[in-house]
């Protein structure tokens, strides 16, 4: 293979990986700390895309300022989810399934509301930057893609530092490792759950804002990313943040390579093949604990 092609695949893979990492981290975080599978994750991704649209079209902001709306709105939605959909079931029998049903119902009602408010026509968010990056006259990536990769990776690194250094970051990790002992440290579980679901949704919203510039905005923008995010967190080891991020980049690189070698149609199939193989041979995932 030509060196140029390899570089191109590598860049495409890292680009995909960064977006995948961003869209799955929130899901794995909520699962690890709160113990809930948030099926509304995809709907928050969709809403994140539409909030940029609102910022651009209705408020007259630029893309970056629209991200502020995205962040505030997705945090708000996270708080709503935790307070009204997750918390009422906490500690009761059927918590696991009931939160899945209700978050799914929340997601579908959001899709309905989006359809009513914004209509069925697909929308496209503009590029943040319209240049291209060339190496010896060959385009290797657009500046828009570069900006997204840099933003995504900076967000992930900041979050990593937060988890390592900040009191609440440590609390999130502590709860995911031993909820019982975490209480004995004086951690107020409900407070940390609220923050965790908020931050998890913030990740979803921001990744939706990014995805909306790459794919078309539709009331179901987040559906496939939700499924992909599930595959990624299963592959990475449910609840493991570093596993999720590693899995996102591995799958991104793999997908770009397979897309080139076998055709784009295969790239989704490969995803699910990965999931099946993971569940068959390493059910705990890349970084998960053996059950």
């Amino acid at each position: 293979m030509d060196l140029m092609i390899i570089i191109n695949l590598l860049i495409a893979g890292i680009f995909l990986g960064a977006l995948y990492a961003l869209m799955s981290t929130g899901l794995t975080l909520i699962w690890g700390t709160v113990g809930i599978l948030n099926f509304a994750h995809g709907a928050i991704i969709t809403l994140g895309g539409y909030m940029v649209w609102v910022g651009l079209q209705y408020v007259g902001l630029n893309y970056v300022l629209s991200l502020v709306i995205v962040i505030m709105f997705s945090l708000f939605l996270g708080f709503i989810l935790e307070l009204f959909i997750f918390r009422p079931f906490r500690g009761k029998t059927g918590e696991f399934m009931n939160t899945i049903y209700c978050s799914l119902a929340f997601a579908e009602s959001m899709a309905g509301i989006i359809l009513i408010v914004f209509g069925p026509r697909y929308k496209k968010l503009p590029y943040i930057s319209t240049g291209v990056i060339k190496v010896s006259n060959i385009i290797i990536m657009t500046t828009h893609e570069l900006v997204l990769v840099i933003l995504s990776i900076s967000i992930l690194i900041s979050f990593w530092i937060f988890l390592k250094k900040h009191k609440y970051g440590l609390a999130m990790r502590a709860i995911s490792q031993d909820r019982f002992a975490a209480q004995l440290m004086g951690i107020n579980l409900n407070k940390v759950y609220l923050l965790t679901v908020g931050v998890g949704c913030l990740f979803a919203g921001v990744s939706g804002a990014f995805l909306g510039t790459v794919y078309f905005l539709s009331p179901h923008l987040g559906d496939m990313p939700l499924v992909f995010a599930f595959v990624i967190i299963v592959f990475g080891g449910l609840g493991s943040i570093q596993g999720t991020i590693a899995a996102a980049f591995i799958l991104g690189l793999f997908q770009s390579t397979v897309g080139y070698l076998l055709g784009l149609g295969w790239s989704a199939a490969i995803f699910f093949l990965f999931m099946m193989l993971t569940i068959l041979f390493r059910p705990s995932g890349l970084f998960g604990e053996a059950a």
């Binding site: 490792q177 031993d178 107020n188 579980l189």
Partner: protein
């Protein structure tokens, strides 16, 4: 003057009652021990005190304040620190991160650096291994970390549940030595132990729980000389 007052506690898990009419008092800077066989209700008593289980009846008073209806994190804020059975350190975090979490409350956070130097002085091995992942420590070191993490919370009373469980006798001796030292720092201790002989040498006073009821209480010497204790727990 009593620091902790447990009055007429009836408690259990759901509808399964485990404790009946448990009453005892612990004085300041005392080492108080709860004895009893497996399943007698010692751990449940500690859980009631630290708010993990709310009792059906009875009250827990600490320093004159009623803790009975408080949540676990609020009780920790009062300086009642529970080091649970089986150590329950955070296995994928470093020793230092575990200690930081021990000082999570606002009250303990203020004293973080002082507490850390006290803890490192008491357990030099933890200072040496502060960047090691806690799950890779030996059993004895994990128990030290669990106690140290409890001390980081600036306890007024430390509840220790089976600190010698699963440790080699020599290591257990070391842990009992540390408990004495911690007491000398001015920390009141409520100890749950199966190692009755060792713990009665250490304690000031104690009580015996059998089948969820308090059957005996008194000074350590009285307990040691009690014919029932001799027969049932010391095998004499």
């Amino acid at each position: 003057m009593s620091l902790l007052k447990v009055s007429n506690i009836e408690a259990g898990y759901g509808k399964v009652q485990v404790l009946w009419d448990i009453t005892f008092e612990i004085g300041e800077e005392e080492i108080f021990v709860l004895l009893g066989s497996n399943g007698a209700g010692k751990t449940t008593t500690l859980r009631v005190i630290s708010g993990l289980i709310h009792p059906y009846n009875g009250t827990i008073t600490f320093n004159g304040k009623d803790l009975t209806k408080l949540q676990p994190h609020e009780i920790v804020e009062h300086g009642v620190i529970h080091v649970p059975e089986g150590r329950r350190i955070f296995p994928k975090m470093t020793v230092y991160e575990n200690l930081r979490l021990g000082a999570y409350t606002k009250r303990a956070e203020k004293h973080f650096h002082d507490s850390l130097s006290i803890v490192y002085k008491l357990f030099p091995i933890l200072k040496e291994r502060r960047n090691q992942i806690a799950g890779t420590l030996s059993g004895g070191e994990q128990q030290m970390l669990a106690i140290a993490r409890g001390l980081m919370g600036v306890p007024k009373i430390l509840l220790l549940d089976e600190p010698s469980l699963g440790l080699a006798p020599k290591v257990a001796d070391k842990i009992f030595g540390y408990i004495k030292e911690i007491n000398q720092l001015g920390v009141t201790l409520l100890l749950v132990e199966q190692n009755v002989f060792r713990v009665l040498e250490l304690a000031d006073r104690g009580a015996v729980i059998e089948n969820g009821r308090l059957v005996l209480s008194g000074s350590a010497d009285e307990l040691r000389d009690n014919p029932h204790i001799k027969k049932a727990y010391l095998g004499l």
